[in-house]
């Protein structure tokens, strides 16, 4: 019997789950917190299509899910966490906020203010600029192990994000 991981292989770590969990514990310690939150209606609207029970169950697995929903007395916070900020985070949050009112499991929270939070450790100024333009709050928090995470990246992934547009391909 061997201890995971086998010698010589990179250790698997769930960095972003840890990142989110530590931020929640530190900054939202008393709030109700839901992680891996499925969003949207349970059954997609498919006109004229008949599905078996198993097919419906499979479609349920396709629902989008947000990293976390923090429930505060005066508002909700929809959180998408990425160590390295990405513009896709903005699109995800916008989509999740759009799906939120149609989520039956969260019906009790409809009507509360919903804030969209992009939680990041390494900021991409261009993504932040885009986020603010669509009402997404960018929260930059560096966990104490960020240097360890950086060391585990490939060298090309350690470059700082660039703000300028790369322009059309030539």
């Amino acid at each position: 019997m061997t201890l995971m991981p086998p010698p010589g292989r990179r250790r698997y770590r769930t960095w972003e789950q840890q990142f989110l969990g530590e931020w929640v514990a530190q900054y939202r310690p008393d709030a109700r917190v839901l992680t891996h939150v499925r969003l949207g209606p349970i059954r997609p609207q498919l006109q004229g299509v008949t599905l078996t029970a198993l097919e419906f169950q499979a479609m349920g697995l396709w629902r989008r899910w947000a990293d976390a929903l923090v429930i505060l007395p005066d508002r909700l916070e929809l959180v998408e966490a990425k160590i390295l900020q990405s513009p896709t985070q903005n699109a995800q949050l916008e989509l999740y906020a759009h799906l939120f009112p149609d989520t039956p499991e969260l019906a009790e929270f409809r009507g509360r203010r919903l804030d969209k939070l992009a939680l990041v450790a390494l900021e991409d100024p261009a993504a932040t600029f885009m986020a603010r333009s669509v009402g997404i709050q960018v929260v930059v928090w560096r966990p104490p192990w960020i240097d360890e995470w950086m060391a585990a990246r490939d060298a090309r992934q350690r470059r700082a994000p660039r703000f300028e547009s790369s322009g059309p391909a030539r």
């Binding site: 061997t2 769930t14 789950q17 310690p29 008393d30 917190v33 891996h36 505060l72």
Partner: protein
Amino acid sequence: MAIESPYELLELADGASLRIHVERWEEGTSPVTPRDGRPAKVVRALRLHVPRADKAMFPWYWDLTSQTLIAQLLPMLPGIRDGKRLVTITKRGTGPSARFAVDVAGASPAT
């Protein structure tokens, strides 16, 4: 360091939930034998001790071995170990790609 036997591995079906209060916890390793034919191995484990009211029979704990679940839950445990906050763990999917949703109740009834 390994958590001591007997082991009580948490095994949930897709969509099933476990509702518990956490009184204390232990981190360590635990042997697991995947049912899909992969070889036995030792993985990081988290043992959650629960009140007797939360579990039908001995032992009064659950052993978690899902690495994604441990990563989600472990940082939040210091704030919920007093046993007063309900923790609901729901499994989504099956096999190695299964993921877990966690719902930690607020510290005050207002939330």
